[in-house]
Symmetry: C2
Subunit: 131 residues, 2 copies
Amino acid sequence: MDTGYFNIHWYPLGTMKGNAFDPNCPTRLVLDRIGDKWSVLVVLSLSSGPRRFTQLRDTIGGITPKVLTQTLRAMERDGLLIRTVFAEVPPRVEYALTPLGQSLQSPIGAVAAWAEENVEAVIAARERAPV
Amino acid sequence: MDTGYFNIHWYPLGTMKGNAFDPNCPTRLVLDRIGDKWSVLVVLSLSSGPRRFTQLRDTIGGITPKVLTQTLRAMERDGLLIRTVFAEVPPRVEYALTPLGQSLQSPIGAVAAWAEENVEAVIAARERAPV
DNA sequence: CTGGATCCATTTGGATACTG
DNA sequence: CAGTATCCAAATGGATCCAG
């Protein structure tokens, strides 16, 4: 597969020339995946080491098994984590970040940190806004 | 308004203690907004200065006027950008990042850079995966 | 324990056409 | 130019129950 996009690089802010702006660029697909709310929380959860399905479900408040499964499968397909099944009873399945997934910790951590630092400002702006 | 969450801070990766994991924490809302595909592209577009509606629509490939409007309005409500209407004919409306919005450039830039750098790896993993 | 299967409400966003 | 209005298809995600 060759989309012709793989060798295009980002430019410094202010001189940026598209790429992600092109709807056909695969960067869009990647942005969608890592921009997903649940994916972000999964990466955060796995930052401290491998976790089991139930651990993740309990850690990430409000996620249903179905959605968690979908998220994990998608991230596995994208090479962000690996799923290891132990042949035991009861079954045990462990999820762990791959090196690729680990490389996501920093940028995602930056976004999460921003969110935490600026929740107050955003909420304030939201309440200041006319209904 | 006091949700009781505003003074909780992030912990270093590995000792993180929740917060964004709580479904009731406003951090979730903020993550949703800045994690949005279109919001990311708008921030990127406005990084080099104010832009008009049509400029944004043309720059961001594949976005419809309706969705662009929705995105801009939401970001305005959240204090990320300001909308300036000039009383001219034909009408002119300019969008510019607020200081808060500008502070998003760095984390969003990090995520976008990651996406660009790892598109190849992600696509490769995706194609390696069983159908 | 780890999900798969099913059903369903809601949301999202795309296409298209139209207006102050 | 800068949107609105309308309609609608598809995807998202939640609830619930079931199974290897």
